[in-house]
């Protein structure tokens, strides 16, 4: 059984590689063309740092607002999207379908559309990130709910509580630690995502990255990448510390 599965996986991978026209010999022959750029990327221009501060702050602000709005909106939606907490099959299917639709649009496409509607800058970025967040948080939280023990909820319903009250009293306390953890994770994702959506003008470090890249200023680009790395590392340790406190 396992042998057959491995053969199948290898077969699919090779088929995919052929379909995409992966050309390993070409990489081997041509990687030297990138040498000059790579060397520049390994030498950050530290003097450029003060100029990056406004963009960095904007990225952080966008991430904070998007995470806050996104998590507040997602929590009730997640309860509607879980079989454990939504007893109405029609409503459940509708919400899940809507969430699937929201999640299937890439964040950068949301950003591009919103920039055209709302203009270049942080606002379109925040709106794009909120939609991106809703897709993630609702999925993670509703799957958490699906796996929860329903005993306390049965007891809450047996006291005469309505479904919303029973869910609030019995299910919310159960998933709060994992919800908090997922919100922190989403915040990290927002930092990274905001750099990408900046490429289409939706604010933050992304706009700065696009500027320096298009002028081939790789030393400056290198510094920005380093800043993002530091930010991600700081967030990572802060969030694991917080997550341990929450369990």
């Amino acid at each position: 059984m396992t042998g057959a599965a491995v053969v199948l996986l290898v077969g699919i991978t090779i088929w995919a590689g052929i379909g995409v026209q992966v050309d390993l010999p070409a990489i081997a022959a041509n990687w030297r063309n990138a040498t000059a750029n790579i060397i520049q990327l390994l030498q950050p221009d530290y003097g450029f740092f003060p100029k990056t501060i406004p963009a960095l702050l904007e990225t952080l602000q966008m991430a904070v607002i998007a995470t806050a709005v996104g998590s507040v909106v997602s929590l009730p939606l997640a309860f509607l999207a879980s079989r454990a907490t939504n007893p109405k099959p029609g409503l459940l299917t509708g919400v899940r379908f809507a969430m699937n639709m929201i999640r299937s649009v890439p964040d950068i496409l949301y950003a591009a559309i919103l920039v055209a509607v709302v203009g270049v800058g942080a606002l379109s970025g925040i709106m794009a990130l909120v939609l991106f967040n809703i897709g993630i948080i609702v999925k993670l939280v509703s799957e958490s709910l699906d796996g929860e023990d329903l005993g306390a909820q049965e007891a809450a319903l047996a006291t005469g509580g309505s479904w919303p009250k029973a869910n609030r009293a019995a299910m919310l306390p159960q998933i709060l630690p994992s919800f908090a953890s997922q919100v922190l994770f989403t915040f990290e994702l927002n930092i990274r995502a905001s750099t990408v959506i900046g490429l289409v003008g939706a604010g933050g470090l992304g706009i700065l990255i696009d500027n320096v890249r298009s002028f081939f200023r790789y030393h400056e680009l290198s510094l920005i990448i380093l800043e993002i790395l530091v930010l991600v590392l700081v967030l990572e340790s802060a969030s694991s510390w917080l997550r341990k406190k929450l369990v």
């Binding site: 306390a152 006291t159 005469g160 509580g161 306390p173 159960q174």
Partner: protein, 269 residues
């Protein structure tokens, strides 16, 4: 906390599950207000089903049940729905075998679940309970002698303590009936006696009708006024515990008694 109990009457009640299995067959019972009844029988005899029809957790397929002024089923087995069902349930407290507490939150929050029906939605959403409700919850915890644990996380309590919190939760409802579905099956013998004594005391002092589903015969005989024996979804014995002798139990269980049917045979330290 003065409230009188409600009487419970079963009129030709049957329950057939969606898969075709018949849980209860034409049950007729009359439980007067304030009585404490023990339901015994083999697993699968219908004990749990019987208890759960009283608060509508299991829907009945035919017949009807009256609980005080409320009626379940009847008129072509029309089921109680929505607000009326919730009103019935607010008057019926339930204690479960696995305690069914919200483990990650405090003891007092668990007891306050008993006030869910009576609290407006916005209060329960924000956790902004009325002072009266918190007082009620606290006095319920006092009655089961566990008020010192009010602000501890429910999961930090022992099994017996958790079950007492569950009993406090039912008391917070100020119910007319308390149902208990194998309340001591997960507890050791001494703790089982403590919990059964609590239920007996509540029945005697507050006049609440108590229906307890029990696995152990000696507990059932010792703590209930009246014993109802079920076998294959039908009542095969209904009378005082004292009247139930060996032959009666063999009729209920369809076999002679073993050590597993009696709590005290589990030994003590």
């Amino acid at each position: 906390m003065e409230r009188t109990g409600a009487d419970i009457r079963f009129h030709d009640v049957s329950v057939t599950y969606p898969n075709g299995f018949t849980g209860l067959k034409g049950i007729n019972l009359s439980i007067p207000a304030g009585e404490m009844v023990g339901i015994v029988g083999l697993s699968g005899a219908g004990k749990s089903t019987l208890v759960r029809t009283i608060n509508g957790l299991v829907p009945i397929t035919s017949g009807h049940i009256t609980v005080g002024d409320h009626q379940l089923g009847g008129h072509g087995a029309a089921q109680l729905r929505g607000r009326e069902l919730r009103e019935l349930r607010s008057n019926v407290g339930m204690v479960f075998q696995s305690f069914n507490l919200a483990k990650r939150t405090t003891v007092i929050n668990n007891v306050l679940m008993g006030r869910l029906y009576h609290s407006p939605a916005w209060r329960t959403l924000l956790g902004a309970w009325r002072n009266d409700d918190v007082e009620l919850a606290m006095s319920a915890l006092e009655r089961v002698e566990i008020v010192s644990k009010a602000y501890e996380k429910a999961s930090s309590l022992s099994g017996g303590q958790q079950q007492r919190v569950a009993i406090a939760r039912t008391l917070a409802q100020r119910p007319m009936v308390i149902l208990a579905d194998e309340p001591v099956a997960s507890l050791d013998p001494p703790t089982s006696h403590v919990v059964m004594r609590d239920l007996q005391r509540i029945n005697a002092e507050l006049g609440i009708t108590v229906v307890v589903n029990l696995h152990f015969l000696d507990l059932a005989r010792r703590y209930s006024d009246r014993l109802i024996g079920l076998r294959c979804g039908e009542v095969v014995f209904d009378g005082a515990g004292a009247d139930a002798d060996e032959s009666v139990f063999e009729n209920i269980y369809g076999r002679s008694l073993t050590a597993e049917d009696v709590l005290s045979s589990r030994g003590s330290l």
